[in-house]
Amino acid sequence: MTLLTLTQMSVNLRGRSVLTDVNLTVSAGEVVGLIGRNGVGKTTLMRAALGLIPASGHSSLADMSANARARAAAWMPQTREIAWPVSVADLVALGRLPHDDNAQAPVEAALAHMALGPLRNRRATNLSGGEQARALIARALAQETPLLMADEPISGLDPAHQIATMEVFAGIAAAGRGVMLTLHDIGLAARHCTRLVILSDGGVLADGPPGEVLTPANLAQAFGISAFHADSPDGPVFQPLRRVT
């Protein structure tokens, strides 16, 4: 089942063309990693897909009504805002707002997924940056949407929680939902995403399984780097090595 379809989507921000003619789909069962340089338009692509900024072309999510969209896709923005000193449990329960219910089961499941049980009664504003990120991921999980879109959800997390979070994403994809996220760690992207989309120069440079898109040529063009690549018994290993020009 397709959860998101972008057709010929172009975005202009303040008179500058950011994205041109992007075509992209995300299906159930996929963990799609969106990678590319700083400022290439990863966040813009996700916000335009959600209808948060105007875009030309087509996005299946942006075409929905606001309420239907909130039940179709959850969005975790890159800026991790927690305005008030609410408890972690209350913060996660905000994910139920689009459903207008006080269902406890999804909140408890999300808290458990992100290992937030011991922190549930702490004030979210008093947590460390990484703990706040985990609480906000749990909030998005509690929304229980078919598609989860997260902007750099694992940056700032310790290695164990980065891996744990990517495994949570893999788990919900295996359960028939879909995940789209941006990230900068190519090693984690290669290991945990089912598909990678490389953005470069306002468009999609490559789209496919990690092993196929992380070629030396693509890495050089999209990031200006070279990388070490090996297929170990534990899966693919990617380690960026040096800049190339």
Binding site: L50, A66, P77, I82, A83, W84, L91, L94, R139
Partner: protein, 327 residues
């Protein structure tokens, strides 16, 4: 019903009864209440129904809506420093009232002052809505409100500055301090429609404010129309603050302090804070209005002076406490 709401309801009810039983005419408590309920003729009924009742009702209405609007503004701007006066509506309402006093209109016609103040409030809100536009940013709203407040303040000062009549200047200064003394049921009926409209507009914003805890992008993605939310809060706040200022003058600090004071009782959540804060505001203004009558029964101590005098040190205490928590 949650515990804080229940306790605050009790407190408001107690203070309302207290407010009805205090005044220069030393009425026996039971007789006064009986006259209020049963009606009939005689001075007792007149005192209760025409003097004490409007005073109590206005304290509940104005205090409650100031607390509600303060919580809504803080929730929307995600800033604990926000308060209802930030929009410039109270400043413009005061300017309207000052003009009515200065021109002598208020002496000629009893409702000239509140009506002129309401006209000032409407003008402020029209300027603000046009300025921020349909996709206005939060910052534009704050800066616009500050600019409108500054203009209204400057014009009010100009009127005082050029006033040839020291009595009018005196009256203006006393009016601006805010008071509920000598208000009639006419004032209640004048303010009531605006209060009801404002209440209706602000009543529906709780879930949107909860969502805004996560920021504007996340709230919009959860299906909340932020433009509509802003319009409701601006218009609702303008209605209640404009009407309140029109009948009682400027009463500061309630809208700022009360949400702060009660935020902890609802676990910091901005939606539930709205109603708790409304009850807290009503209780605070009832209490303050009782205090001005008890502290200096013959000196006409002004309500706005007392709320600021008690509110500001209390606020300092809260700041002190939160500073220690953060350290």
């Amino acid at each position: 019903m949650t515990r804080p709401i229940f306790l605050l309801l009790m407190l408001v009810a107690l203070l309302a009864i207290g407010s009805l039983s205090i005044g220069p005419a030393n009425l026996p408590f039971a007789d006064g209440l009986r006259a209020l309920v049963a009606g009939g003729d005689g001075p007792l009924v007149l005192v209760m129904r025409e003097i004490r009742l409007p005073r109590m009702v206005l304290a509940v209405m104005i205090g409650g809506t100031l607390g509600l609007a303060g919580a809504a503004m803080q929730g929307y701007l995600r800033n604990p420093l926000a308060e209802p006066g930030l929009l410039g509506v109270s400043g413009c309402a005061a300017l309207g009232a000052v003009l009515a006093i200065q021109t002598g209109m208020s002496a000629a016609f009893a409702l000239a002052l509140p009506l002129s103040a309401l006209a000032g409030a409407v003008l402020a809100v029209v300027i603000l809505v046009v300025l921020t536009g349909p996709r206005g940013e939060t910052l534009t709203l704050i800066l616009g409100g500050i600019a409108i407040s500054a203009i209204a303040g400057a014009l009010t000062s100009l009127v005082l500055n050029l006033s040839p009549n020291p009595f009018a200047a005196n009256e203006i200064i006393f009016w601006m301090m805010g008071s509920l003394a000598d208000r009639s049921m006419l004032h209640v009926w004048l303010a009531l429609p605006f209060m009801i409209v404002g209440l209706a507009l602000l009543a529906g914003v709780g879930r949107g404010l909860d969502a805004l805890t996560l920021g504007e992008d996340a709230a919009a993605a959860m299906g909340f129309d932020l433009g509509m939310l802003r319009l409701r809060i601006v218009l609702g706040t303008a209605c209640v603050v404009g009407a309140g200022t029109a009948v009682a003058g400027s009463i500061g600090f309630v809208g700022l302090v009360v949400p702060h004071l009660l935020r902890g009782t609802v676990g910091g959540r901005p939606g539930p804070l709205l109603w708790v804060s409304a009850l807290g505001g009503a209780a605070m203004l009832l209490g303050a209005d009782i205090a001005v009558r008890l502290i200096a029964p013959d000196r006409d101590l002004k309500l706005g002076v007392l709320t600021a005098l008690v509110g500001a040190p209390f606020f300092l205490h809260l700041v002190w406490r939160s500073r220690r928590q953060r350290a």
